[in-house]
Amino acid sequence: MRYEEYLAEEFRDPGLPSASAATGDPAATEPGGPAPAGVTRRDFLAALGAGIFVLFHWDDLAAAPGRGRGNEEAIDWNAFLRIAPDGRVTVFSGKVELGQGIHTSLAQTVAEELDLPLDAIEMVMGDTDLCPWDAGTFGSLTTRFHAPLLRTASAEARGILVQLAAEQWNLPPASLRVKEGRVFVAANPSRSLTYGRLARGRRIVRRLEPKPQPEDPGRYTLVGTSPVRRDAVAKVTGAAKYTGDIRLPGMLYARILRPPAHGARLVRADLSAVRGLPGIHVVEEDGLVAVLAEQPDRAGAALAQVKAEFTPGATEPGEQEIYDHLVRTAGEGRVAAEGGDLAAGTRASVEVFEQSYYNAYVAHAAMEPHTALVRIDGRRVTVWASTQRPFGCKEEVAQALGLPAENVRVLTPFVGGGFGGKSYNLQAVQAARLAKATGRPVQVAWTREDEFFYDTFRPAAVVQIRSGLDSDGRIVLWDYTVYNAGERGAPHFYTIPHHRTRGTSGRSPLPTGAWRAPGNNTNTFAREQQIDLMAARAGVDPVEFRLRHLAADAPVRRCLEVAARLFGYQPAKPPSRRGYGVALGTDAGTWVAHLAEVAVDRQTGKVQVKRVVCAQDMGRAINPEGARMQMEGCITMGLGYALGEEVRFQGGEVRTRSFAEYPLPRFSDLPRIETLLVNPTEGAPQGGGEPAIICMGAVIANAIFDATGARLYHLPMTPERVLEALSKTEA
């Protein structure tokens, strides 16, 4: 049975009221009620019957970040992969496809080890009943930590297949080889057995042990190539299902009453205008007010008639005072990196540079809003969710319903973008509470306004740097403090004898969370401008200045050299008036070097980025074209926070409510983007979803300086801020 067929079978439930019949007050399905007959949720694996399974064990996660969050009962029986008697391979992965392409690259990893064509691999992703526990799809962890597990599991399966054939033929395993789904005798390739034939009539279950040697990367034929994305056809035809596209008999669509501000509490909701309307259901329960209907627009229209009174939320600080507020409310924090002696560095400096850098709150603004659909059958709960953390969602929903986590199953259809914003699952909790209250399956899909309100923004942040140059123009002092962004990407990688990097946080009036390369966008913006302004003061070309301060064997040196060559960069004393900028960074084990060219309109303050070149060293690239898509995506998305995106707010009130007030990058903003992978067949694979975004603030700021002599210390670099900086420079 294919996974999709199985899902269709399992969730076709005639026991539920049909959409047309259920209009009155439906009988609530209380947890504790009888479970409906039909397919049970573990029937899929039971139905799988024969085959070869390679299991997961908690210990295998020892190296994976995120262990210890969430479900402590993660020693489970779930398999990484199964080889069926028809020869098909099913991979079970707790990771989810957000657009980053792992539906393809993980399948490539498995197909490579088993020497199978890519289309022999079926991916089952983000199903918490069938897939081994996983912390979540974030932090560019998939390729670094998850793919190696699948690779080892695949090598284990290959070892089992060879062993089975060896027993059948009574030959030593070393005399056998695998190719294209068959085990054969090396000395007599016509003597062979298909994987399916070997798996037939057996049920072999092995716990993953890293014994069998994975294939030598030098012999890879599929890893390192760029087959067409496996989700591409489904996505261009409308066949790809997202959470909002799932339909269940009897389901209701909810619209949630949103408070006017964070910190505001509901005093009274006047629901009289909507109670009793045909087809409209109203839920008011512990501060959650929702209107539900059989079509989402009907629910939305009804919600507009609800009047409600809230306590005022906090009114301070606003977007002007936020930076002082963050610094004022911050504690000592902690030292993330240090070396030498700051006092000695100060004494060695002939000039000290003190500068603060700022960035505004930024929204995730994925095109697909947070969506969840919850169905409760007795004590069993099924959740479809647009989430980056299916297993976290499972825990959150279980807690909200007061059920053991094992009663909750989360399924993850395609997710329409995440960028860190779908790490929390409030929408699933809302849907679960409403499903319980109404006794019907309930979909919660946030509106765009909801999305801007409930988002966990990239934090507004401040970086303060005190750095110094000695009489030879070398950096001898680096005293760095980051407020609220986090320490990722904060420690510098230059040769500086006396340095310290500190991270601390003040109180944020708005909820914040991980946003593509969390912390690193802020930290790289600050560090790479501070380096640049010292280069300018020293009168040294900024590429040359960086090379002077990088160790001879620093991996980023090669990235910078490659990027400069691709760009056609010629050194010049800054500002050269050419509008060229450079920035370097590291994230998720990957190194990046960016060069950019900008044009600045001195009348309007508008910055047009004309060209971005990025060289990236990410170790072995599993799917080089997929990696380059991520780099292009990072660069394009990064234009937004660099030049325009800023969440407006006053206290807990989010004033940005629409795309009309929040300028995502558009086609007219698009520069010519050139990407290059440095040494893409060498070294362990590193992260690819985030690194190329981190330099976008700094490379544009440095290019603006090169064009105009004006420095921009505040993200986003809006036309107003550019004009202000220009006026200061000219004054």
Partner: protein, 158 residues
């Protein structure tokens, strides 16, 4: 008040019993179970809900269903013919002009409408036609390349 609205959806006549003021988007996704058309903003800004009405790219979230009475509506589900992808779809696949895929139906249909009225667009014209379609993943460069390639293919075929 509920009324009957008849129109041609992907080449087939349909009739829906519903209030004429309801947005076409929700009638497509709900009443007609065509979920390929996506919600993105509900105010005609982002372009994810783009459909073709009489061949013109329109925002289904702000078009009352009564407005399409008697008209031809094409959604992403209706673009491929007998299992063969439209050249624009094929070009999106080949150029990797897709990431999360949520904006893709709107992008593809906007490009199809562009090539219908201008078979040989310049890069500036492609960008301008797609300017009001938002994509958060940043597929823009590949989308432009895909539309150029599709235009070449369509011209060669005609």
């Amino acid at each position: 008040m509920a009324q009957t609205t008849r129109f041609i959806l992907n080449g087939k006549p349909v009739a829906v019993e519903t209030e004429g003021a309801r947005p076409l988007l929700w009638v497509l996704r709900g009443d007609l179970e065509h979920t390929g058309t996506k919600y993105g903003c509900g105010e005609g800004i982002c372009g994810t809900c783009t459909v073709l009405i009489e061949g013109e790219a329109q925002r289904a979230c702000v078009v009352p269903v009564a407005d399409v009475a008697g008209k031809r509506v094409t959604t992403i589900e209706g673009l491929s013919q007998g299992g063969t992808l439209h050249p624009v779809q094929q070009a999106f696949v080949e150029h990797g002009a897709i990431q999360c895929g949520y904006c893709t139906p709107g992008m593809v249909l906007t490009a199809v409408a562009l090539l219908e009225r201008n078979p040989n667009p310049s890069e500036a014209q492609i960008r301008s036609a797609l300017e009001a379609n938002l994509c958060r993943c940043g597929t823009h460069q590949r989308v432009v390349a895909a539309v150029r390639a599709a235009a070449r293919k369509l011209r060669a075929a005609s």
